[in-house]
């Protein structure tokens, strides 16, 4: 665990028996010709190509001010869906998510405007977050420096590598202090130097009495950044709590991952480099 900030007992996110169902179009079914479509409509049949995917099945938990919550689990466990539901982007099928304020989701797929230069993306992103032109002027250089994309800031974002793109997106979103920040694999593509910077920024956001949710396949990152962890499997919680290292180790056991050797006293990874923010 990186930071042991004093936590308040003021909840910022309450997830109450949340169910999320996706309706997926074009998931196979008929042969997809005009004739089959016509027969379907004439016969008043439901589209076979609509499949319902029950991605989240009754989750309940509470997150408090100052929490950094790691969400771990296999692919398709519902981690990203959970973040989207917290952000209010996916309406719940049943149950509810209550938040103190709007949550900002920062995902790896969240390209802003591909055709436009990084510069314009910074300005537009900040404007969209409701910053004034003056604030943007003050923060612009800081965002560019933080992202580390350098000269590429003058080129369209479609020319960026995936790492550069997500670094810039993180820098834009982190420019504003969010009370609830949801990070979906956004840091996975960054290089070592950027990780150190982003960990520092996440800790800073936490200290500003915010709540951070982090989805990551890189368990070391969760270990370094989070004070709580939620382990999801097929849309339900397997285990959650403050014993980050214990839960991660059990998750590694269950998913057949490579065992981590730990120092018996500090419980830190022996082979791993020192966490920068410890």
């Amino acid at each position: 665990m990186a930071v042991a900030d004093p936590q308040s007992t003021e909840p910022t996110v309450v997830v109450d028996d949340l169910h999320v169902v996706y309706r997926v179009y074009g998931a196979g079914g008929d042969r997809g010709t005009a004739a089959t479509a016509l027969f379907r409509i004439v016969g008043r049949k439901r589209r076979p190509s609509i499949r319902e995917v029950h991605a989240i099945r009754g989750l309940s938990f509470v997150a408090y001010r100052g929490d950094a919550v790691g969400i771990i689990g296999r692919n398709g466990a519902g981690k990203s869906t959970l973040l989207r539901a917290i952000a209010g982007l996916l309406p719940p099928e049943r149950g509810a998510v209550y938040t103190m304020c709007e949550a900002s989701l920062l995902g790896v797929n969240a390209a802003l405007l591909e055709d436009l230069t990084g510069e314009r993306n910074v300005v537009l992103g900040c404007l969209a977050m409701g910053m004034t032109k003056r604030e943007i002027k003050d923060k612009f250089q800081h965002i560019v420096d933080f992202s580390g994309v350098g000269e590429f800031i003058h080129l369209p974002m479609k020319t960026y590598s995936s790492g550069m793109g997500s670094r810039l997106r993180f820098a834009i979103a982190a420019a504003k202090s969010h009370e609830i920040l949801l990070i979906d694999e956004a840091l996975a593509t960054g290089d070592a130097e950027f990780r150190v910077k982003s960990h520092a920024r996440i800790d800073e956001l936490r200290r500003q009495a915010g709540t951070v949710f982090l989805v990551a396949h890189d368990l070391e990152e969760v270990e370094d950044t989070c004070n709580r962890v939620i382990w999801l499997e097929q849309g339900t919680i397997v285990e959650q709590g403050e014993d980050v290292i214990g839960i991660i180790d059990r998750y590694i056991d269950a998913s057949g991952g490579e065992k981590v050797t730990r120092d018996p006293v500090t419980r830190k990874r022996i082979s791993a480099p020192e966490p920068a923010t410890a």
Partner: protein
């Protein structure tokens, strides 16, 4: 298993076999009440809740710079790959008008009948209508196009369709500059009436913003809408009097299909096109219904119908001859005959109706879009 689990939906965390580490954790010490009560106690709001209308409007107003910045950036990106670049913003409407003129002005003579100075009549119609048409088509895709942006950042989603309206407005303003040049080149006098283009444009912006918001929600929710839209737009184009004179159809069918001709005139696109034409073109003002004292023979001879009851044969012969000979010169009955017809309710209340459509479209469109605000990131 050492875990905190859920018993059943709505139930709280099981406390039986909680590991010591998890027990002091923030997750485990939920008060005895339900989670919903806990949320209510601390003033937490459902995340997928629609913001109140007043708050939403305030947030939207704060995004004015974003709307304009987004529009400008999109406009710049739109033509960057083309060699002629931004020149296309002027070339596209010109070519568009050129095609219509080639077909309906030169090849098919019938539609230009009964209209003074058909070229500028047509070009005004094409430019005004294409503002509405382009807005409708582009805003129907705005949510799908901007999904990454919507999923990344929180902002009032109505900013996006409004930004697209601003993109099309910039295009429209350039078209207007071309139009002014063309109208002056055709020898139209520059009069104070031209200033009426400003309120007409403002009303059209309001109307287009309304239908843009409508199209944005519909296009985001119903994927079939995008397939249907080209047909809808073409039908709308043909009933809006872009290419032919609605006045002529009105006189021809007023007797048997009075209600249909009223609907045809009430069509908002037809109203805005007429407002622009009347503001810019003296020939249109001179040929508007009721511009001359009523004369049944002149009116019906111009419309090309049979002799109406109550008109003497002599007067009818004079009128039909004048129409076929193109006399009197400079104000021929074949082109300006509509001026002798009775004014209709619509032709005398154009501004009121234009304003009415603008307000209704904007309010309804905004309300319609706002209702589904939380669903737009769903994809």
């Amino acid at each position: 298993m050492r875990s905190t689990r859920l018993k059943s939906p709505g139930q709280l965390l099981e406390t039986g076999a909680v590991p010591a580490a998890a027990q002091h954790g923030a997750a485990a010490d939920v008060p005895g009440d339900s989670l919903a009560a806990l949320a209510a106690q601390h003033g937490l709001k459902p995340s997928a809740e629609r913001p109140r209308l007043g708050l939403y409007l305030r947030e939207l107003a704060r995004r004015w710079n974003f709307i304009m910045g987004f529009a400008t950036a999109r406009n710049i990106a739109m033509y960057t790959e083309a060699k002629l670049g931004q020149l296309w913003q002027i070339l596209a409407p010109l070519l568009n008008a050129g095609v219509y003129f080639l077909i309906f002005g030169l090849l098919i003579k019938g539609v230009s009948r009964g209209v003074p100075d058909y070229l500028v009549f047509l070009v005004t119609g094409v430019f005004v209508f294409s503002f509405t048409q382009r807005t409708f088509i582009s805003t129907s895709k705005v949510i799908t196009d901007s999904l990454p942006l919507i999923r990344a950042l929180q902002f009032p989603r109505a900013s996006l369709p409004l930004a697209y309206v601003m993109i099309e407005l910039q295009q429209m303003l350039l078209s207007l500059v071309v139009l002014f040049g063309l109208v002056l080149a055709r020898g139209e006098p520059l009069t104070w009436n031209w200033l009426l283009v400003i309120p007409a444009t403002l009303l059209l912006i309001m109307f287009n913003a309304g239908i843009g918001l409508f199209a944005a929600r519909t296009g985001a929710r119903v994927n079939d809408f995008a397939q249907l839209l080209p047909f809808l737009m073409r039908t709308w184009l043909y009933v809006s009097g872009v290419i032919y004179s609605v006045q002529q159809v009105v006189v021809q069918h007023a007797q048997n299909y009075g209600w249909a001709t009223t609907l045809l005139q009430l069509n908002p696109a037809a109203i805005y096109i007429t407002l622009f034409r009347n503001s810019l073109l003296a020939s249109q003002r001179a040929s508007a219904f009721g511009a001359q004292p009523y004369n049944a023979a002149n009116c019906y001879a111009w419309a090309g119908t049979g002799k109406p009851a109550g008109v003497s044969t002599k007067a009818w012969d004079t009128a039909t001859k004048a129409v076929s000979n193109g006399t009197p010169h400079g104000h021929s009955l074949s082109q300006y005959g509509s001026a002798y017809c009775h004014p209709t309710f619509v032709s005398t209340h154009l501004w009121q109706l234009g304003a009415g459509w603008a307000v209704v479209a904007l309010l309804l469109g905004f309300w319609f879009f706002w209702r589904k605000e939380v669903n737009y990131g769903r994809g």
